[in-house]
Symmetry: C2
Subunit: 358 residues, 2 copies
């Protein structure tokens, strides 16, 4: 039987709780599908800072690199918010993305019929939303150099960063996006600020060139300010969106909130080859950490993405997705998605119910 | 009687139609309030490109600089979309902002009780939204150098821009924002990406320093991705938001769409001294240009901001604002904000009704 090595990075806040649920789901699916998992749990983020003094210890990165896939809970918390840059939990996450070379971040934003009321958008606007943001993850202003602080001729402090893209960085994320759109509804919207930024002009030019390889996909371009509006006005107009690192950070979070159920949303970060990184899009929620209140479904669905995109285990992935829907249909809800008449459960109980559904 | 010199920049698309309505409103208010206006209409954007070959002719900038205030319609259109950067209508707008040194862009997003149904957000989420985005307008990645295109060691094309802020640029926009918050509900939220970007770390540091000058204003900080979510989740939590040029571009458009009536929203761009620039936040809408369908109220309300922030004519400003509300209360609506049972009118007729209300 196939055997996979998975690095688990529980991280901070609610991370350990949701990872534990997802691990159980993976273990059960393995026994049913004749798969074997070897798990290695490693410290990362604030937990790693407290333990080792750095947010991404070498051993953690090494384990991740040697894995077939990596599942991350969440990182960060008030405790480390004022740390210097190289000692921030977030810096560990950026180092992990860079180390694993996972340049393509896939973030679905789907409004499930069961949860349409959770959205702050009117029912007729929210229902049926099903879009995918493909965010460039290892380039742009997050990693561009020069960056830092300096002093100008007046002795004044300056802070600066560089938004930079090379042609091949745009080409490869564009290809992932076109492939993604092809498997979805064949529509790709590339988002940039090409009316102002040179980096965006190159972005638009390269995406338009790559389009000729995908004549079956319908490509459009949109400015980022307009995209931020259109997501609110009519999110259903979007199928697949591709954009740079910083615009993707903003728009994917906006899109996820439009579903109203960010406790449900997974993500996958993929490279050319090598292990993918899978994580819920929500944060570490330090205010409810350790209280058995977290919604573990985003992490369970991230495990499903891990099976599908990371290991090619489509069938096992589908069984997990189906189990999540079944659990919702049976009326179980954590606090974040609860509404009157439904069964309010904690993180652990939700995990048990998913296992039952599997 | 006081006399003011106003440069009108109708620009492109629906620009001339909405400027004509706003001019009439200003003229009427002048006669009633004992003010005198001298108007000078100058070409700008695509109109200027067609006429003179550049998007901001020297004479236009000169007239703007010599004015007491500048009122702009809208610029841009498909026709010029593929122009090279220095021949884009947008470049003319950036040159105008830079030329007038209007570093502070005030963008209110208000949900009027009369128009709450226009929002795609649920009524209970949208009603009562009343926030102000204070966007830095003449710095950051829009103007930062170096910028452009180059080739890397592999002979590959690169596109790059620089996000850079100097301490004084942050200090002065922060002061405008604190002053604005003080006149509103005393709450200021500064939005940045200080967990990743050095430019944002300096931003946060300086805004926090300036806060000590405004002990009566409650300051909070938020990451831009979270802000994009919170605007959808609960926009009422915000009073005044201050942020950099590019984040402000995105978030102010998102906030305006949350109101559902971007045809209603004005903006003011102000400098240390010298004339302010006032414009509706909507675009040039080339698809409905010349069809008498545009909503002129955003430009009329921009004229009110011109009176208030540009000339200190508070009373005249209030009369225009009151007239706009009265026109809505009397049931007149352009297509963009129309709903069953109300009186659908065109741009001109809406203008007539505003005059009547004044
Ligand atoms: C934690 C932070 C560095 C990160 C990012 O900005 O990429 C997060 O917001 C995300 O989107 O995964
Ligand atoms: C037209 C464009 C250059 C401009 C900007 O990005 O500033 C517009 O989107 C705005 O917000 O006024």
């Amino acid at each position: 039987s196939k055997s996979y090595f998975i690095t688990l990075l529980p991280g901070d806040g609610i991370g350990p709780e949701v990872i534990s649920v997802a691990k159980n789901a993976l273990q059960l699916i393995a026994s049913l599908e004749g798969i074997k998992f070897k798990f290695n749990e490693m410290p990362m983020g604030g937990a790693a800072l407290d333990l080792t003094g750095v947010p991404l210890p070498e051993e953690t990165l090494l384990s991740a690199e040697q894995s077939d896939a990596v599942l991350l809970g969440a990182i960060g918390g008030y405790k480390w918010d004022k740390n210097e840059k190289h000692l921030k939990p977030e810096t560990g996450l950026l180092q992990l993305r860079e180390g694993l070379k996972v340049f393509a971040n896939l973030r679905p934003a789907t409004v499930l019929p069961q949860l349409v009321d959770a959205s702050t958008l009117k029912k007729e606007v929210a229902e049926g939303v099903d879009l995918m943001v493909v965010r460039e993850l290892t380039g742009g202003i997050y990693f561009g150099k020069p960056r830092g602080f300096s002093t100008n001729e007046n002795g004044e402090e300056l802070g600066f960063n560089t938004e930079v893209y090379a042609a091949h960085e745009i080409d490869r994320i564009a290809r992932v996006a076109f492939e993604t759109a092809r498997k979805r509804h064949g529509k790709l919207c590339s988002v940039d600020k090409a009316n102002v930024l040179e980096a965006s002009m190159l972005w638009r030019k390269r995406v338009s060139m790559i389009a000729s390889e995908y004549p079956d996909v319908e490509l459009s371009h949109m400015y980022v300010d307009n995209a931020a509006m259109q997501l609110v006005r009519n999110p259903k107009q979007f199928d697949t969106i591709v954009t740079n690192n910083i615009f993707g950070d903003i728009l994917s979070d906006e899109a996820s909130m439009i579903t109203g159920s960010i406790g449900m949303l997974p993500s996958a970060s993929l490279g050319e080859s090598g292990p993918g990184l899978f994580e819920p899009i929500h944060g570490s929620a330090p205010d409810i950490a350790g209280q058995d209140k977290a919604n573990p479904l985003a992490t369970v669905l991230s495990a499903a993405m891990l099976l599908k995109y990371g290991l090619g285990e489509e069938k096992a992935a589908q069984r997990i997705e189906a189990a999540v829907l079944d659990t919702l249909n049976r009326g179980f809800r954590t606090g974040d998605i609860h509404s009157a008449g439904l069964n309010l459960v904690g993180c652990k109980e939700m995990g048990e119910q998913v296992l039952k559904s599997i």
